[in-house]
Amino acid sequence: MNLKSPFLPQKSVIRSVVPMTHDNYLFEFRDSVGHFASCKPGQFVELWVPGVGEAPISVCSGSIDGNLQLLIRKVGRVTSALFDMQEGDWVGLRGPYGQGFPVEKYKGKDVCMVAGGLGVAPMRSLWQYILDHREDYGNLILIYGMRHSIDLLFRAEFKQLLRRHDIDVFIAAEEIVGPDLPPMSVQLGRVTDMVRLSAVDAGYEVAICGPPVMYKYVVQELEKKSVPDSRIWLSLERHMKCGIGKCGHCFIGGEFTCKEGPVFQLSELRMLPEVIECEGGAH
């Protein structure tokens, strides 16, 4: 039997590290063999720091051209160990895993993207992809919400986005903290307020990614705008250890989030227990 273990990663060298805020860095990895060239917006990889462990991380750029970008927040063991690494060091990467956002289905449609907090990382792969294929899509709305304005990620990129006329960008913070330099149009409020302000209607395909508690409220807002469940797409975060439908950690209802997801159509999720509600968390 010549079978290779599906847990064997690809050795990938860190090409650059760009701090975005004190605890969010953008890492770029060299993908010399083109292993990740087929990545789709919303998919994820398993990142391994030898001696520490693995963590599931979303693909963060719209196209992978020899380099793979991952935005990582320092929260625990693996992510902290990665923050101690530098250009030239290597990690293991497995993937890409899961079903991303259905960019083919969105073709010819208006698309609204809603990101909360770190949800902006996977969402970036989607807006970059759509803007790279701008003529294939209708009206675009991008909503990005965060707790404190100082946590705003991809500041320079958002500045560019705000200048474009072919995408409506809403940025909201619950609190304006610290210097807002360079000046940005950050509004006071939550993502739900921005959804209300935006022109999103029943004709839009809506992609959502954010902390688990956010989903319920955004979905309620979209219901008021008559967006049908079949046009609402949620990227679910579960404790993904293996990423390949084996370890059982991400199993909900009748589905492996890592294989069938992480992006699901809301109408599918309505049939499953324990999907959107959860206990704890600071919100």
Binding site: L3, S5, F7, K241, C247, G248, H249, G254, P273
Partner: protein, 347 residues
Amino acid sequence: MLKPVVLPKNAFKLFFQSLKGLGTVYAPVKVSEKSYSFKEVHSPEEIAFEALRTILPPKKFFYPQEETLIRYKNGDFEEVQPEKKFQVIFGVHPCDLASLGILDTIFSSEPADSHYLKRREQSLLVGLSCMPDKHCFCNAMNADTAGSAYDLFLTDTGEEYFIEIRSAKGVELIKSLAEKVSDANPENHEAYKEFWKKREAAFSHGLETENLRSLLDLEWENQIWDEMGKRCLSCGNCTPVCPTCYCFDLVDIAGLNAKEGERVRQWDSCQFVGFAQVNGDFNFRATPADRLKFWYRHKLHGFDDAYGFKTCVGCGRCTESCPAGIDDIVQVVKILQGKKENKHYEP
């Protein structure tokens, strides 16, 4: 399938010798007053033929509690291959054979798990018939016959074993015993049928399982979950003993210096509080009740859609090994079905 053969019990020693000729033989062994365990055996005398359920199911031979998948050293890493070792597992009852069939399907689905499959390839499974006790309900779970995951299956018909042969490996072994075995005659077939009729009549659980699918969905908010949750210790005993539970964790174990170490797979349990916890301390199953009903749903309905089978084979191990005395699938299902009062679970 090949025609069944009959082996007189007084020739079992020779049968055992042929098994030993293939590799290491494991069989149920009595380890205490009431418990049995699959262990290496060197002679038939060590085998506890009367054993019903072993503490741990035979999954441990193909999917060990802990195994190294990858080793890294000096800036590089490689896959660690499972040991080259042929394992013969003797005395596997129908429920456990069914469970191995389930694990075979799960671990060979894409992407296939090389470690499990390599161990499985280097093995021979010899099934053995059994008489159910009060905790057995395999016949309600479609797991009461030899199924498909065996090489040879022995039915105890009194003076002899009636042997069903399913694989090429099984054929080889029986060929080597040509002197001792004979083709089953009509009388042997009759004895075989008699045995299985008697066995069917011995089940006492009274469990009906036609509506499990909707039952588990409709009773998601039943108060029994909270009542059980109050008494559950979240010890996680019910999952390692379950022959189809296979959830795992992947961890790094560093060596003496940071430059080398191993990536290890370990059994995990959905009954532990951190199992479904994600970044930011959100926990999708924060209470014992959340985790218990998830497990019940998973065992009785969860894989209906993902794989097309249920993952409870009715072995009764969880019921026997729950220190809180609450994990009785048969009783819980009857309560959910409204066929039994909820007295059992008053806190």
